[in-house]
């Protein structure tokens, strides 16, 4: 009886402690992984960002070349009357600066002036979101997207210091098809 009771207590305490053990393990892994990832970020994140910008720009250029125009407009669509079908299309991208870029931005912030690195990161995300909107609209069979709106929202809640630093760029509009 005593042995069964002992086992039961051990079992219950294991179940209770398991989440804490897991959290501890994750914390340990984090402390090991963080410096490595930061080194990687210092070496390669600038290059990665440039590649992203070049990739988005080339996709946009080739799409514009094949269509002969940009399918996105912000006007309310009143200029053509031969629209046969329409529907809402949207696309979003969650995009964040690397911790190395955050550090550069912080130093930039001390001296004031324009913080170019954040501008570069966010405009890369925005270009990607707009390009995906174009691709998605064409994939769904629309020819143009009218009344396009672009929202940027912060994924980092106010006051949460140690969390993910990212913004969501969200582009939406009404896809239209002509006769």
């Amino acid at each position: 009886m005593v042995e069964v009771g002992g086992l039961l207590v051990l079992g219950i305490s294991l179940v209770v402690l398991l989440p804490f053990l897991l959290l501890g393990l994750i914390g340990m892994l984090w402390t090991v992984a963080y410096p490595l990832m930061l080194c990687w970020a210092v070496l390669f994140s600038g290059k990665k960002l440039d590649q992203q910008i070049v990739n988005t720009a080339s996709r946009e250029a080739s799409l514009r070349e094949s269509l002969g125009r940009d399918p996105l407009t912000t006007i309310d669509g009143g200029y053509r009357t031969d629209i046969t079908s329409c529907g809402v299309v949207w696309s979003g991208v969650v995009f964040g600066p690397s911790h190395w870029h955050l550090l550069i931005g912080w130093i930039n912030n001390l001296t004031g002036g324009s913080v170019d690195i954040f501008q570069k990161v966010i405009s890369a995300g925005r270009a990607e979101a707009m390009q995906r909107l174009r691709e998605k609209a064409l994939a769904e069979g629309y020819e143009d997207v009218i009344n396009v709106r672009i929202d940027t929202s912060d994924m980092t809640p106010q006051g949460a210091r140690k969390s993910i630093k990212a913004v969501e760029v969200f582009a939406y509009g009404t896809g239209v098809k002509y006769t």
Binding site: L38, A41, G96, M155, P157, I164, A166, Y172
Partner: protein, 111 residues
């Protein structure tokens, strides 16, 4: 007009091209709060160190937005509308990794 969500036409313009709005049925809305499981949060946290796109959260917001639009459309259906015009989206982050998505528009009858 074949491009619809569950039989209801959703556009973000004030009017529907080629159709006349005969009756407005009020503001309809749909919202949702969703989160990803801890493993994906940790992975996104690691990915955030090197920067760039966080595809877990892109996917999360995509799913949540579909759910919010679905709820908005259900609201419009219950009012007997056949279209929702002037749709707007709003996002707020409640905690890191959970996002509230809100979609709203005007339910109308159009011919």
């Amino acid at each position: 007009m074949e491009q619809t969500v569950q039989g209801i036409l959703v556009v973000n313009t004030e009017t529907i091209p080629g159709m006349m709005i005969t009756e407005t049925l009020g503001v309809v809305s749909g919202s949702t709060v969703r989160a990803k499981h801890l493993g994906k949060d940790i992975f996104a946290g690691l990915k955030n160190i090197v920067g760039g796109e966080l595809s877990q959260y892109t996917e999360l917001l995509q799913e949540s937005r579909e759910e919010a639009v679905g709820r908005m459309v259900a609201d419009a259906m219950s009012r007997g509308a056949n279209a929702v015009v002037n749709v707007r989206f709003a996002t707020s982050a409640i905690t890191a990794g959970a996002a509230e998505l809100f979609a709203y528009g005007t339910a109308v009858k159009a011919e």
